[in-house]
């Protein structure tokens, strides 16, 4: 039986099972059912933590309400493996955002926060209000992906949501504090970037030589502190 067809074992009428699909012979994607929320994300963290120590699992890569397993070699029996993962999904408690608290001082506005005026104008707020709202929030690292050490931060106040740009800014600096849709984050590489820059932080987000290379890990909490405002 192909596991890319829904198998839906009977587990009760309340919740659908995760969708499990293969990407080739060495990767398996497990997607939580339902809408995005932090409880489901916490279950994904717990699942990834547990699956990381399973035999033949090279790593468990956390996404947004999903986890990608990378295998050392193709699993012998994909059906049995999928069933075990579904079983684990139902019995694991959701993990709380119980990681460390990271405080990031931000220079808001100025040279690096070049999208702040547009964001304020779209939100119908003053630039100072945007800064206050952003720095008042407490955020949770949902996933680390896309660039080394880049944390997707959940918890942005809906008043300052701002869609990603259709044409990316060409050379956004590493350290740029950005808003992309309903998420915020700190750019870790100087590169083209479609998120909206509202400030800059001088924190080393990623260092491959450190024992723990990534400052942010899934489940950590982040607060942005106003270091300076340049309007």
């Amino acid at each position: 039986m192909s596991i890319n067809h829904p198998s839906a074992p009977f587990v009760g009428a309340i919740e659908r099972s995760p969708k499990i699909s293969l990407i080739g012979t060495l990767a398996m994607l497990i997607e939580a059912p339902g809408d995005f929320d932090m409880v489901q994300q916490g279950r994904v963290w717990a699942l990834a933590d547990a699956l990381s120590s399973w035999p033949n699992v090279q790593e468990a890569v956390i996404g947004v309400t999903n986890v990608l397993l990378i295998f050392e070699r193709p699993p012998d029996d994909v059906g049995v493996l999928s069933a075990s993962i579904v079983e684990l999904w139902y019995c694991l408690p959701s993990r709380k955002a119980d990681g460390k608290l990271i405080e990031i001082p931000v220079v808001y506005g100025g040279e690096h926060g070049f999208d702040l005026p547009a964001l304020a104008s779209r939100a119908g707020l003053s630039e100072r209000d945007v800064i206050r709202i952003h720095s008042d929030g407490e955020y949770t690292v949902c996933a680390v992906a896309s660039s080394p050490g880049f944390g997707y931060l959940h918890g942005l106040d809906p008043r300052i949501y701002m869609p990603r740009k259709s044409v990316p800014s060409l050379n956004m600096s590493a350290g740029s504090v950005t808003i992309g849709g309903m998420q915020t984050g700190v750019a870790v590489l100087t590169s083209p970037n479609g998120w909206n820059a509202i400030g800059w932080a001088s924190v080393a987000m990623f260092d491959p030589q450190r024992t723990e290379p990534s400052l942010m890990l899934p489940g950590d909490r982040v607060r942005f502190r106003i270091d300076r405002i340049e309007l």
Binding site: N4, I23, E31, E59, V61, L68, A145, S146, P213
Partner: protein, 325 residues
């Protein structure tokens, strides 16, 4: 030591890739044709994951600063050592001062040079592969350029060892490899997560189209042209982890195959995934060349690695024997 004399853009130090750090947002990098790199290492008796140079722009020239064994694998090309021809898929011993010149491939896209003992740059997160975007690994995290001095590990073999022989390349040695009748590369894939969301005509288009690898293709991914794959209803995907070989379909409808430098995450619908046994062939497909997809089951995809592994094991055994004769 070797000194780089001529190197145009995008020639980098690569090994079998940086595994285990996707969860930190770190792409694997690694050779686009891992079979060629591993074969080059096997010819010299190196570990399979020793680092070599991946050359994808030509000509490339280097000078040996000490007596060093080396091997040339990957795309079929012309090369000379101190003016004398060196065939592809061949290993030889260079003397200090010898210049190795590598010309553009006749077929294929990437040539690998490996050295006895491997390239001795520091491991970063367990790998010597260059991560160009994050600027670490390889030589200072960047592409090679003229004037660079690259440390290579000492050759483990006595000077009396024979080191002037070659092997059959895998596209000749492995049955079922190579071009289909219309000169397109036939690549085996498995269906992936969103295959069933595409209508039957769209699925049929995916299988029947001879896709062209566009000029906007690189180590990050191949963009394909020649057809459009659209969904009847757009689907909202959440960002998830990616691996090399996944065939994604962005809203514009032209598929993208992620390759070695692929981002660690993405969220386009996934039509299929190129099987491991054919990824190296795709790694040798140049922009402008043609690809057709054929479907295989999971079992067939797993079994397809046996001839590849057998080929590499046979090559290593032969090379080990030949060096001691």
């Amino acid at each position: 030591m070797i000194k780089i004399l001529t190197s145009h853009a995008f020639n980098t130090i690569q090994d079998q890739g940086r595994n285990g750090a996707r969860r930190l947002g770190v792409s694997t990098s690694g050779a686009m044709d891992p079979v060629a790199l591993e074969a080059g290492n096997a010819l010299l008796g190196n570990d399979r994951d020793a680092a070599g140079i991946e050359i994808q722009t030509f000509p490339f020239r280097l000078r040996f600063e000490a007596d060093t064994t080396f091997a040339l694998t990957g795309a079929d090309h012309d090369a000379t050592l101190a003016g004398a021809t060196v065939p592809s898929w061949w290993c030889r011993r260079a003397k200090a001062g010898d210049i190795l010149s590598i010309g553009a491939p006749r077929r294929g896209a990437r040539v690998y040079v490996t050295f006895g003992g491997g390239i001795d740059v520091p491991l970063v997160l367990g790998s010597r592969s260059t991560h160009l975007r994050a600027r670490f690994g390889g030589l200072e995290g960047r592409a090679l350029q003229a004037g660079d001095v690259v440390p290579v590990g000492g050759t483990q073999f006595e000077a009396a060892d024979r080191l002037d022989f070659g092997v059959e390349p895998p596209d000749v040695a492995i049955a079922g490899s190579g071009q289909s009748e219309d000169r397109a590369l036939r690549v085996r894939v498995m269906r992936a997560g969103e295959y069933d969301l595409f209508s039957e005509p769209m699925q049929a288009t995916f299988w029947s189209t001879t896709w062209k690898i566009s000029a906007r293709s690189d180590r990050g991914g191949y963009r394909l042209t020649g057809g459009k794959l659209t969904l009847d209803e757009p689907v909202e995907m959440r960002s998830h982890g990616l691996v090399a070989g996944v065939v994604q379909v962005p809203p514009a409808g032209e598929p993208i195959i992620q390759m070695s430098d692929a981002n660690t995450a993405g969220g386009y619908p996934k039509m299929a995934a190129v099987i491991q046994a054919d990824l190296w062939r795709l790694g040798q497909a140049a922009p402008g060349s043609l690809v057709v997809f054929g479907e295989v089951s999971y079992q067939d995809a797993v079994a397809a690695m046996t001839p590849v592994n057998d080929y590499l094991a046979r090559l290593r055994a032969t090379a080990d024997l030949y060096r001691t004769l």
